[in-house]
């Protein structure tokens, strides 16, 4: 699937703008604050219906405007599609595929997969386990769209069990329904653990290889460590049963896949605690490219990669390898303040971005 064009209106610093993407690499260059990252965000917004930068969607609205809109046009195996996402404060989000309104974009086959690198996404490597879990679960959903619902259901069952624990603790409910919620949580939880394990097994070999390719010397590993030792739903259910006493004291569920950790390590040491900024950056890129490879192998679809200011802290040799990797498969959009800093982009589509204006330089052939 190819993303052909982005059209936006009243989005961040843009009143209206258009960007035509290349089949391989598209390079956005311009000074700081011109609005390069805003274009990446608009692409992400058009493909997912969410922002990759903020949970406060009002920020995406151009100052003084009533509604922001992002439209992406894609070319899939089944023909052309037009995906439109609109945001107006106080109104339900407007999402349309080929003119027909949809509830959500996840699961829609017409939408492109996207993978995003923003400098503040290093949080994924160095932050708390929750962000890595959420990222892994999003990858599971991209790999097996029909399983996305399972993660949502697990979250619902967990919230219900936690609410019941708190009520029992406060003496407002009896404990009789806890068995039923343990059972339900275990049924959904074991599937979640299996899906994550399967995904990490697929990601581990390319992650190690790509980390080395990007210039992280020594062995880089990816490990999913479930807290639970259970092999099936019945096993997880009995573990939940055992944890009940302490859960009741705390008032929430302390055991289960919602507490699991995905460990990115280098030379056997977790990058979260011991990695340098540069190592964390390379590891995150290796993870994103490993995901691209797995999606391509398993689903025949590479995500559109949105890479913000990705080369700035890399030395010349690593820059070159990164650009080679980007250009080896699929579509990518990268931003930079200095077009000269990106080696070997003669055949890329480039656009100059200045203060809310996009000037296309090389139209795609």
């Amino acid at each position: 699937m190819l993303v052909k064009r982005l059209t936006l209106r009243d989005f961040r610093n843009y009143e209206s703008a258009e960007l035509t993407l290349g089949e391989g690499l598209t390079l956005l260059h311009g000074p700081n604050g011109a609005g390069k990252t805003n274009l990446l965000e608009a692409l992400y917004f058009g493909a997912t219906g969410r922002s990759c930068r903020t949970s406060n969607e009002r920020e995406m609205l151009r100052f003084g405007a009533a509604a922001a809109r992002s439209v992406i046009e894609v070319e899939g195996e089944d023909g052309a599609h037009r995906i439109e996402v609109g945001f107006e404060p106080g109104e339900p989000k407007l999402m349309k595929i080929d003119g027909a309104r949809v509830e959500r974009l996840s699961g829609a086959t017409a939408r492109p997969l996207v993978s995003v690198f923003l400098p503040d996404r290093l949080e994924l490597v160095k932050g708390p386990p929750g962000s890595r879990r959420a990222h892994l679960d999003q990858f599971v959903a991209a790999l097996r769209p029909a399983r996305a619902e399972n993660r949502t259901e697990y979250g619902r069952a967990l919230a219900q069990r936690n609410a019941l624990l708190a009520r029992v603790r406060a003496g407002r409910s009896g404990p009789s329904a806890l068995d039923a919620w343990d059972h339900e949580l275990a049924r959904l939880g074991i599937v979640l653990m299996e899906d994550r394990t399967h995904s990490v097994e697929l990601l581990t070999p390319p992650f190690g290889r790509l980390a080395a390719e990007l210039g992280l010397p020594g062995e880089a590993t990816l490990t999913y460590r479930p807290r639970s030792k259970a092999a099936d739903a019945a096993g997880l259910e009995s573990e939940l049963h055992e944890a009940r006493e302490s859960d009741l004291q705390r008032g929430f569920s302390g055991h289960g896949p919602h507490r699991d950790e995905l460990v990115l390590a280098h030379e056997g040491r977790p990058l979260r605690a011991y990695g340098s900024q540069g190592q964390q950056r390379l590891a995150l890129l290796a993870l994103l490219f490993a995901e691209r490879d797995v999606l391509l192998a398993e689903r025949g679809r590479a995500p559109l990669m949105l890479l913000d200011d990705v080369v700035s802290e890399l030395d010349a040799a690593r820059r070159e390898r990164l650009v080679e990797l980007i250009q080896s498969e699929g579509q990518a959009v990268i931003t930079t303040t200095d077009a000269e800093a990106i080696p070997g982009v003669e055949d890329a589509v480039t656009a100059a971005v200045t203060a809310g204006e996009v000037r296309q330089e090389l139209a795609p052939a």
């Binding site: 029909a146 399983r147 609410a163 339900e184």
Partner: protein, 199 residues
């Protein structure tokens, strides 16, 4: 903005599910335009339904008399009970013409988040009904949602304890009739696989 009685009508209409402020206004002005003989039957229908319809003493379905029409029907199999969340869930089951037993309406599903405990549903009444004897099978037809599943599990556990001789079954979930395998989503297909039966 409008005369107080009009505002009151708009406010009442807007409290209905799925009706926003704008739709409520449109409906209110529609009602205002109607001649009295067309508008008042609605008010009377609401009044009548609230004054005459109550819950069946046996199964908590909607009833005008002390028991509902299903419970009064002697031809229906009294040994078979289908458990549903809401009275409205009975309609699609009745339409199938495949179920000849009686019903039991729970009045919702377990949901600790909303403060719904087993005691808030008609679960104890179900247990008493089954304990009284003569029931061979309880079909649990709660929704295929997290709350519906947990409710089903709770009922199954309770039945094992209180009426071990009664069989408890769950509605199968699977492929819609006439559907091609190719178009079935993974979850539906997965459930259909795990719930497969011998031919």
């Amino acid at each position: 903005m409008f005369a107080p009685p009009v505002n009151r009508l708009i406010t009442e209409l807007a409290r209905l599910p799925g009706i926003g402020q704008r739709t409520a206004q449109r409906l209110a002005f529609h009602i205002l335009r109607l001649p009295p003989e067309e508008a008042l039957p609605l008010a009377e229908a609401i009044k009548e339904v609230k004054e005459t319809v109550r819950q069946c003493e046996v199964c908590f379905n909607l009833a005008v008399e002390p028991t509902c029409r299903v419970c009064q029907d002697e031809r229906r199999d009294a040994a078979l009970i289908c458990v549903v969340e809401e009275p409205s869930d009975i309609i699609p089951i009745e339409r199938t013409n495949e179920f000849s037993g009686r019903y039991h309406v729970l009045g919702g599903a377990l949901s600790p988040i909303d403060g719904v405990d087993p005691e808030d549903l008609h679960i104890e009444e179900l247990a008493k009904r089954v304990e009284a004897g003569g029931i061979t099978e309880v079909v649990v037809a709660t929704n295929a949602t997290t709350t519906g599943e947990a409710t089903a599990l709770y009922i199954a556990d309770l039945m094992r304890e209180r009426a071990p001789d009664t069989e408890v079954t769950r509605l199968a979930s699977g492929l819609p009739v006439g559907a091609d395998l190719e178009y079935a989503d993974e979850i539906t297909l997965g459930k259909a696989l795990s719930g497969r039966r011998r031919l």
